[in-house]
């Protein structure tokens, strides 16, 4: 069985290399959401380059589209495209590897970037799966700052109206957004109660613990009659003290010294996970 904990740290290094080479990237959120994405693509979802056109594949929408670097790293690891190509082309003139998901690339279903779009789109996908009596599921990943968008709550309402138990959403609860803490900018501490009040099954787990995320996705699959929201409690910039819980690293390109320290820290985590 693959060591997904170690993989999460290896892919973090790919993300940092991508950001260094492309001189851009939402590094803090990329790091916090990594275990969510690794768990989705290597544990929870039925998706691969071989079945990417199969109508029975699981569907995914990256609503916090600015963390596309992590999506690229995970898709590359799945074999949708070579990581070397991403690192070489990301953010460059004329590239398809732009700073938000773009469905001209294999493995990406929907374009995103503006926040608050993913949940309604995922509701549509899950509804279509129900209409066609498919057993496949739909997943969507949102940020916590994103929850201030009203369209999130329109989507949340319709997901329970239609009893979409094949829909599983994740909030990457890293508690920071571009201007400060979420509690300073727009409070989200009652996120669990809010989704529960909308009729969702709500799980709250350590979102940087790969085993906890795997277990949460497994549990969501067994819930009947309503969608599941996984509040993934994470650390922004997870993996290196240089970045962790530092609001300035929402969008930041490391300097050479920072880069070397971050890569050293990530490597140490990876080796620890393999030991």
């Amino acid at each position: 069985m693959q060591n997904l904990k170690a993989l999460s740290y290896k892919l973090r290094r790919d993300v940092v290399d991508m950001i260094m080479a492309g001189k851009a990237g939402h590094i803090g959120g990329d790091m916090s959401v990594m275990e969510t994405m690794v768990s989705l693509y290597f544990h929870a979802m039925n998706i691969s380059p071989e079945n990417q056109d199969d109508p029975n594949r699981d569907m995914f929408a990256m609503s916090k589209g600015h963390c596309v670097e992590t999506l690229y790293a995970v898709l590359a690891e799945k074999g949708f495209f070579p990581i070397e190509q991403v690192i070489k082309e990301y953010s460059r003139f004329g590239s398809k590897f732009i700073g938000h998901p773009n469905n001209k690339l294999p493995g990406i279903e929907m374009n995103s970037g503006s926040l608050g779009h993913g949940l309604p789109v995922a509701v549509g996908m899950a509804l279509a799966q129900k209409m066609d009596k498919r057993l496949s599921r739909t997943y969507v990943v949102m940020g916590d700052g994103e929850l201030a968008e009203g369209s999130v709550w329109e989507g949340a309402m319709s997901a329970t109206q239609y009893g979409l138990d094949n829909l599983c959403a994740v909030v990457d609860r890293n508690r920071l957004q571009i201007s400060g803490t979420t509690e300073q900018v727009m409070h989200q501490d009652s996120v669990k109660e809010r989704f529960a009040a909308f009729g969702w099954n709500v799980l709250s787990v350590d979102g940087n613990d790969i085993d906890a995320m795997n277990a949460a996705f497994d549990e969501a699959k067994s819930v009947k009659g309503r969608p599941t929201m996984i509040v993934a409690n994470t650390t922004k910039g997870k993996g290196s003290g240089v970045m962790e819980n530092n609001v300035g690293w929402h969008h930041h390109v490391p300097n050479q010294e920072e880069y070397e320290q971050i890569m050293k820290d990530l490597k140490a985590h990876e080796e620890e996970a393999r030991a």
């Binding site: 469905n103 789109v121 996908m125 319709s158």
Partner: protein, 310 residues
């Protein structure tokens, strides 16, 4: 007025006819099934109908998600809200993501009359036309509406279609409806002037040409139901040799049919182009007919504008 059948009723008829055999047709409404005349569809095909409540962003997002899964999504909501409240969903989830969503803006233009500017959509052509990969259609009468929707059912690209609320007099005759997708329709020929209209303004334009004929002026009328992609070749052919081109639309003077026709004529066959439109202001209170009469968007007003500029 002889015709009592609205264009929106025709949309319901066409979608219902096809939904019997095509289970991928899905209609979505935002508490708007009555105003969209889609209640019969919802009743006949409950499994192919999605109600989202008063939530236009959700409406368009869900439509895009359904379309991504192979559904043919027809999302109907008042044009005023659909073209503004869910504009970003139209841009990102439909046009940019290239999903097969047909956005049906009902009660378009000033259809809602005295309900005021919040309910008018005098900006929808400009807004939707400026989105890459979004097409914009304003069918003129019930017969053309049928042809348009039959054509739209055959493609897999996003589009915005604006319909009025009220029944409009027929421009064409049953059984004799010239229609080619994305090609403007010549309503009548003429040699002195060209009138280009879309949507509900086509019939008054046709009537204006008849009035002008009585006065010895020969005006051609072109039905530019396909505002985007604008039929530039058809426009330039029709404008050839004319002294003036007059555009007529139920829209703001900016960014609509008039702007697009002026741009095309200016680039290839420069001549005087007069744009008749609603004012750049909240319109006067009244029924749509009263509003059109007040601003000269009727046969007499169009004829007057042609005569004055010849």
């Amino acid at each position: 007025m002889s015709n009592k059948i609205t264009n929106r009723q025709i949309v319901c008829e066409v979608l219902s006819e096809h939904a019997k055999t095509d289970k991928n047709i899905v209609v979505l409404c935002s508490d708007s099934r009555g105003s969209a005349s889609l209640a019969p569809f919802a009743k006949e095909f409950p499994e192919q109908f999605v109600e989202v409540g008063i939530a236009e962003q959700d409406l368009v997002g869900i439509a895009a998600g359904l379309a991504k899964m192979g559904k043919k999504a027809y999302a109907a909501s008042p044009a005023s809200f659909l073209s503004t409240r869910s504009y970003e969903q139209a841009k990102v989830d439909c046009a940019y993501s290239n999903t097969n969503v047909k956005l049906i803006g009902i009660s378009g233009g000033v259809s809602y009359g005295a309900l005021g500017m919040s309910h008018h959509s005098a900006q929808d052509i400009a807004a939707m036309s400026s989105i890459p990969n979004m097409r914009v259609y304003l069918p003129s009468d019930r017969f053309q509406t049928r042809c348009l929707f039959e054509a739209l059912l055959k493609d897999e690209k996003p589009a915005y279609i604006r319909l009025g609320r009220n029944a409009v007099e027929d421009t064409y005759e049953e059984g004799n409806v010239p229609f080619e997708m994305d090609r403007a329709t010549a309503v009548c020929e003429g040699s002195d002037a060209l009138i280009v209209a879309c949507g509900e303004m086509v019939k008054p334009a046709k009537d204006a040409a008849a009035l002008l004929r009585q006065q010895g002026i020969s005006a051609a009328v072109l039905d530019m139901y396909c505002v985007k992609p604008l039929d530039v070749n058809g426009l330039l052919d029709a404008a050839k040799g004319k002294k003036v081109v007059v555009t007529v639309e139920e829209h703001s003077p900016f960014g609509g049919l008039g702007s697009m026709v002026s741009q095309a004529i200016g680039a290839s066959d420069p001549k005087k182009v007069i744009n008749l439109a609603l004012p750049d202001a909240p319109v006067i209170t009244g029924t749509s007919k009263e509003v059109f009469d007040y601003y000269g968007l009727n046969a007499e007003g169009i004829a007057k504008a042609v005569k004055k500029n010849l």
